[in-house]
């Protein structure tokens, strides 16, 4: 960056700030949430909401993997399901249970949208995240 744009020091400064910021999210020792907590930030940041954190540990006590990953069609990929609130209200994905019938309903925005703003989509504590040398900054999908 610096080599290519010697006359635009602000660019390298910006890149440096961005790198440090992304690095601090993906690799800092600060984050120590549960193994398999999934952060979903496809649209949240842009919409001014906190990212969603899905705790696998809490749900697997109540449901087997099959219920969500076979019956409800959740792909095995963080952020790979393009979930939005319309789908949830229509009873798809999270909305299949979070409907006020099986589990609490969508009015409890902040129970799901509880992540620190700017946290990237990730499977927390996944093998790739735990590699001492990160293959890429900012965690993985």
């Amino acid at each position: 960056m610096r080599l290519r744009h010697p006359r635009a020091p602000w660019r390298s400064a910006l890149a440096l700030v961005a790198a440090v910021w992304i690095g601090s999210i993906g690799t800092s020792g600060e984050a120590r949430a549960e193994y398999a907590d999934v952060v979903i930030n496809n649209y949240s940041d842009a919409a001014g909401m906190r990212p969603v954190i899905f705790p696998h540990w809490f749900h697997r006590i109540r449901f087997r993997c099959k219920v969500c990953h076979a019956d409800l069609g959740f792909q095995f990929k963080a952020g790979g399901n393009e979930i939005n609130m319309v789908k949830i209200i229509d009873g798809q994905f999270c909305g299949a249970c979070h409907n006020g019938d099986i589990a609490w309903s969508v009015e409890n925005c902040n129970l799901c949208h509880s992540g620190k703003p700017g946290t990237p989509t990730q499977v927390h504590e996944s093998t790739i995240q735990k590699l001492a040398i990160q293959p890429q900054a900012g965690g993985q999908q």
Binding site: S28, G29, E30, A31, R32, A33, E34, Y35, A36, D37, V39, R50, I53, P55, H56, W57, F58, R60, I61, R62, F63, R64, C65, K66, V67, H69, A70, D71, L72, F76, A96, C97, I102, N108, C109, N110, L111, C112, H113, S114, G115, K116, P117, T119, V123, H124, E125, S126, T127, I128, K130, A132, Q140
Partner: protein, 307 residues
């Protein structure tokens, strides 16, 4: 004072007393923290059922005003609506519970007026204490890249991913509240989920709405011979079909035919094949021997000549 200090013996005695007092105070503080971490944390970390949160000066101030003995009383005998006697740990001695109260009160004062105001009376020995308790720089920690045991399974507001500014975060269940009653393992959530299910400690539903639905468990082991010195892999359908549907793995991830799948640890590490779950939600790849569990039939090595 000056006269006292002129006598070196008296001065030394006074110094010893101060150091001893500091030591006891510190030990007491440690004990309080230990009890808090074990018992009180379940509610007082997240503020469950109206419990004042650790370090929340506003919530603690009116309680502290009632006097330390009232607080001791509430902790020992319980308090409506939700505080059980001794926080539920009735087997602990009164002194331990009092130490935990002291610890939480000190934390509330810390939170309110900064670290400097912890104990004005202890200002003089503070310098000596600071030397003893000053945290070492991270560069000198035993293994700077490894997560220390004290930082495992923290409650959501302290886990670095949840936003503590968000009211919903504090309503979420702290994982340890559940994990303590489940069999432990050495990795992942540090819970042995397969064992928890086998022992009926958890009853996850097989169907979204029908609590009585049960999986059709298939008890079939697939042995995969591996190159190199590692034991062969035994893949048990049994544990997998207890959680998953056939369609979760077949045919997209694994072609249901022996010998048809190329699997390598490199692929697994990158999140493919077994790595779709293992290393993300099921036990991670650090637990080599759970999979690599079948000892190879090795030809006996003739090492007589080497000797």
């Amino acid at each position: 004072m000056i006269r006292t200090l002129r006598n070196p013996a008296v001065a030394l005695g006074a110094l010893c007393c101060t150091l001893f007092a500091t030591g006891t105070a510190l030990a007491q503080q440690d004990k309080g923290k230990a009890v808090y971490d074990k018992v009180c944390v379940a509610c007082h970390s997240a503020g469950i059922a109206g419990a004042p949160r650790l370090g929340d000066a506003k919530a603690w101030a009116p309680r502290i005003k009632t006097g330390i003995d009232t607080l001791y009383g509430s902790a020992l005998k319980g308090k409506a609506p939700a505080m059980p006697a001794k926080g539920g740990a009735t087997d602990l001695p009164d002194a331990d519970i009092k130490a935990a109260v002291d610890y939480m009160v000190a934390a509330a004062k810390d939170g309110g007026s900064g670290a400097a105001a912890t104990a004005p009376a202890a200002a003089a020995p503070a310098a000596a204490a600071a030397a003893a308790t000053k945290p070492r720089p991270a560069a000198l920690s035993f293994n700077r890249l490894l997560k220390p045991a004290s930082k495992r399974n923290p409650p959501p507001p302290e886990d670095g991913i949840h936003d503590p500014q968000n009211d919903g975060t504090h309503a979420l269940q702290p994982p340890l509240q559940v994990f303590e009653s489940l069999p432990r393992s050495n990795a992942g959530n540090r819970v042995d989920w397969v064992k928890a299910l086998d022992n009926n400690l958890i009853a996850p539903r097989w169907d979204r709405t029908d609590p009585a639905a049960a999986p059709v468990v298939m008890d079939l082991n697939i042995v995969r011979e591996v190159k190199g010195s590692m034991p062969d892999v035994v893949y048990p359908h049994k544990q997998h079909t207890a959680w998953l549907d056939c369609s979760n793995c077949h045919p997209q991830i694994f072609i249901p035919q022996k010998g048809a799948n190329q699997i390598s640890m490199a692929a697994i590490l990158l999140g493919q094949k077994c790595g779709v779950c293992h290393g993300k939600v099921a036990f991670p790849v650090s637990e080599c021997r759970i999979c690599h569990s079948k000892k190879k039939n090795v030809m006996p090595v003739k090492n007589a000549q080497a000797n």
